[in-house]
Structure formats: structure tokens, C-alpha cells
């Protein structure tokens, strides 16, 4: 029983829709810029990947005081993915439709506001929405309410790797009887309290120049940039998967276990390394992490052969939304037979990776997406035509 992808929508610093984002990526644009959502002069990390043009117009106004920006974006992308799938949800049994998203840190900006209300003014200033607007399950909950889906649903948290794990769990739900599952992830923690959390890793770039702030696989790699956004995808078990299918997934935990995750995914997909046409890399953007990833890729595919790309260099990393966005782009790459570029990067040849720095036409049947999470999470997902 195959998990077909029948709908995709994207929200990112490069666009408010799937095609707007994809065109901007292929044209080599970058969505990285000096931070605007909050005063970042207090912080050492001036660059962010923000979705400046996002407004929650189109969402019911009742939802606005009760939802974090992350949830608003997620609701818009989820509706877009359902529309794209052209499934008439009203004709299905609601128990056959599920929602399975990943979360990173929940509705963090909403949480900062409420923490401030509590500590600067008192408990009476904590809103009634706090009990549900920030917790990790909120996007799944709100999407299920908005679309009337009553089937088995869930939420996975595995830092950035969760974006792939959620999609794999969604495919599992189809094998276990759900007919349609909305999956993927959209994340936003664009507030000072979020920035301080990201900065505590010591891995955020301090660059003031957006063109040098996120340079994965480059000798000049100096960290990553925090972004917001992600992608939602509709999976269904019936045969009309216009974008492709989920072929296999593997996940491990621990250092130096990324290659094992890739092997597990290949095994489940019943594919050999030579059947993979492109790798969408995790691209953590620090020298040590880039080297570890290059070694894992080299171990499986050999040095310098398979095309590797990191379009996230144009958007930054948005928690678990990053890998979901990569999966969406991998499917669009299959649709358009074009590998999106890794912008701004001059690949360090000593890493032995064949990094695509421009949009590259190529026959693509199967794409491998990699994601690592802080704490040792390693995930690999293969999608195919």
C-alpha cells in the first residue's frame, strides 16, 4: 500500500505559496535579510529568514487572538495543501482523515507574550488561550478542527528531524487504515525569546551580511540562520498521487548514525544507492556538522558523484518545517526534473560533495532527503516519482 502525495503547499521567506516559493528558489533568490520582526540589535545574529508578507487574512477572524503566528501559517498552508489535492473532504468519513504534524518548540512567540503578561502584570493577565495556543499539539488540533478530520492524528517532536519522521508516521497511518493524512510541518519562533534559544546552541551565524550568513559545505561555513515557514503535504492511499510517493524512511539517534539512517531508508524503499538521483542535505552549516554529513553521504554514495543540494541556504532553518519543506521541494524537483540550487555557496571540494550551486536540469526519479536534530536525531526519507 503506497503513500501518494496529492497536495502540497508551502510558506517560506521566498513565497506564500508553493509555486511562488519554487520559482524564487529556482531563480536563485534568497529570503535571508536583516531581522525585522523584533529588535535584533541586542543579539549577535542579525540575519533571519522571515516571511515578511504573511498576513492571516483569509483565516477566520475569531482565530486570530487565539493563535500563534506559527499556527496561522500552518492553517493557511494546510488549507492550501488540501485545495491542491482536490480531495472533496466532505465526501469522506471524517474518521478516515487524519492530521500528523511535527513541532519544534510550539507556539513560542505566543508563549513569550503570555509569560510577559504573567510576570510583568500578574496571573489575571494570562489569556484563556494560553492553555492551548502554545503547546506542541496545537497545529494538529487546529487543522483537524478547521477541516473536520476525526481520524487518528498525532504530533512528533524530534527537533529538525521531526519534519521527516512526521511524514513517515503519516504514511504509516495510511497503511493502518486512514485514507487521507495531512502532514508536514510549519514553524515560527521569530521573537527575542526564540532567538536566545537558538543562539544558545552557539551555532547561529553572526554574519551581518545575508550572503555570507548561511554557507553549508563552504569553507566559510560559520553557522546557520533561523527562518520561519515550512510545508504541508496531503498523503492518500488511493492511486492518484500527482506528485509522487513516499518510498522509505529510516531514523536513528546518536552521533555518526546518519549513514545508518540512510541505509534503513534505502532498505525500506528497496532501492540501491545508485537508484537515488539527488540528495537534499541537512546542511547544518557548521564545519564539523558539514564534514560529518559529507562523510555519511560519501560512505553510501561514494565521493563526488551524486548531486547534493541545500535550497535551505535561501530560507534558513525553520525547525521541523525545514525538512518538510525539503520534501516538498524534492517532489517539485521530480515534477520539473530540475534540482534547486544552493545559493551563495562556493563548495569546499575537500568535502567530496557534488553541490549544485545553480538550478540543474536532470532526470530525477528518486530523491533522498536528510535531516538531523540537535540531541543526536538522524532521519532520512526517500520520495519517488
Amino acid at each position: 500500500m503506497t503513500a501518494n502525495i496529492s497536495g502540497i503547499d508551502i510558506i517560506s521567506p521566498l513565497g506564500l505559496s508553493r509555486e511562488e516559493h519554487w520559482k524564487a528558489v529556482l531563480d536563485g533568490y534568497s529570503g535571508l535579510a536583516p531581522t525585522r520582526s523584533f529588535d535584533s540589535t541586542t543579539y549577535d545574529n542579525p540575519i533571519s529568514g522571515e516571511v515578511h508578507t504573511f498576513t492571516p487574512e483569509g483565516l477566520p477572524r475569531r482565530l486570530l487572538p487565539a493563535t500563534d503566528r506559527m499556527t496561522q501559517m500552518s492553517l493557511v498552508a494546510a488549507a492550501g495543501a488540501f485545495d491542491d489535492s482536490e480531495i472533496d473532504l466532505g465526501r469522506l468519513d471524517p474518521f478516515d482523515i487524519g492530521v500528523l504534524t511535527a513541532s519544534t518548540a510550539g507556539g513560542y512567540a505566543f508563549g513569550q507574550k503570555e509569560l510577559q503578561n504573567l510576570w510583568s502584570k500578574g496571573p489575571k493577565y494570562v489569556s484563556t488561550h494560553q492553555s492551548y495556543a502554545w503547546f506542541y499539539a496545537v497545529n494538529t488540533g487546529q487543522i483537524s478542527i478547521r477541516h473536520g478530520s476525526q481520524g487518528h492524528s498525532g504530533v512528533i517532536v524530534a527537533d529538525d528531524a521531526g519534519g521527516l519522521d512526521a511524514i513517515a508516521f503519516a504514511a504509516r497511518r495510511l497503511r493502518r487504515g486512514s485514507k487521507v493524512v495531512l502532514t508536514g510541518a510549519v514553524d515560527s519562533t521569530m521573537c527575542p525569546w526564540g532567538r536566545v534559544a537558538h543562539a544558545s546552541t552557539g551555532e547561529l551565524s553572526k554574519s551581518e551580511d545575508a550572503t555570507t550568513a548561511y554557507l553549508p559545505f563552504d569553507e566559510r561555513a560559520n553557522g546557520w540562520v533561523n527562518g520561519e515557514g515550512g510545508a504541508h503535504l496531503v498523503l492518500q492511499s488511493t492511486s492518484d498521487g500527482r506528485y509522487g510517493v513516499i518510498r522509505g524512511h529510516g531514523a536513528t539517534i546518536g552521533e555518526d548514525r546518519l549513514s545508518q539512517a540512510i541505509r534503513l531508508a534505502l532498505g525500506r524503499a528497496e532501492l540501491r544507492p545508485q537508484d537515488i538521483d539527488v540528495v537534499f542535505a541537512d546542511a547544518a552549516g557548521t564545519r564539523a556538522a558539514d564534514q560529518a554529513e559529507a562523510e555519511a553521504i560519501g560512505e553510501i554514495f561514494g565521493r563526488g558523484s551524486i548531486p547534493v543540494t541545500a535550497p535551505k541556504a535561501a530560507t534558513g532553518r525553520m525547525g521541523c518545517g525545514t525538512a518538510a519543506l525539503d520534501v516538498a521541494m524534492a517532489l517539485l524537483a521530480i515534477r520539473d526534473q530540475t534540482i534547486p540550487p544552493t545559493v551563495n555557496v562556493e563548495p569546499d571540494k575537500s568535502l567530496g560533495l557534488n553541490v549544485c550551486t545553480t538550478a540543474t536540469r536532470r532526470r530525477i526519479t528518486n530523491a533522498l532527503v536528510l535531516a538531523r536534530g540537535i540531541g543526536g536525531f538522524n532521519s532520512a526519507l526517500i520520495v519517488g516519482a
Binding site: R62, P65, G122, K124, Y125, T128
Partner: protein
């Protein structure tokens, strides 16, 4: 909300409308100006959370407490308005 030096003794439906909208938004097609005084919360698209949120805002803005048990019986904005004004009146009489 700072009401300056004046001690508030009474709030109006306009105050309630503002607290309702700020805390819970308003559904498309709902005309609060026209219907707030005469409708039930449910008819205007508000659930018990919205009633709680509105009551919470009005209580803290006016520094009064509305008894938990009263919330069980609040179906209409008029009833909530009356509850807040009764609490304000009790405070005025106590001082």
C-alpha cells in the same frame, strides 16, 4: 487599561464589545454593534472560552472579581455586563 484617576463605577456595552473583540475576535458577518445587547453569545459565534476571556479582561481592567459560579449562567453579553456592574457596585458600597 489605565482609566486615570477616576474610579470606575459602571461599564458600558461598548467596553464589553471591545474586550470581546480583543480577546476573541469576531466572526465574519456578525454585527456586534447591532446585536450585542439583544443576542446570546452562542448566536454571535462565541463559546464558553470567549465568555471567560471577556469576563477575565473586564475583571482585571476594572479591578473586580466575578464569582466563578456566576460564569456558569452567563449566556448573553447583557448578563455579563450586569455581572461586572454588580461587582463594581458592591465594591463601591464597600468602600
Amino acid at each position: 487599561m489605565n482609566k486615570g484617576d477616576a474610579v470606575v463605577t459602571r461599564i458600558t456595552m461598548a467596553d464589553l464589545k471591545r474586550a470581546l473583540e480583543e480577546g476573541s475576535g469576531v466572526d465574519e458577518g456578525v454585527d456586534l454593534d447591532r446585536d450585542l445587547g439583544t443576542s446570546a453569545f452562542a448566536d454571535l459565534g462565541y463559546d464558553s472560552l470567549a465568555v471567560l476571556e471577556t469576563g477575565l479582561r473586564l475583571s482585571r481592567e476594572n479591578d473586580v472579581d466575578i464569582d466563578d459560579s456566576i460564569f456558569m449562567d452567563l449566556d448573553t453579553p447583557q448578563q455579563l455586563l450586569d455581572a461586572v456592574n454588580e461587582a463594581l457596585e458592591r465594591r463601591r458600597q464597600a468602600s
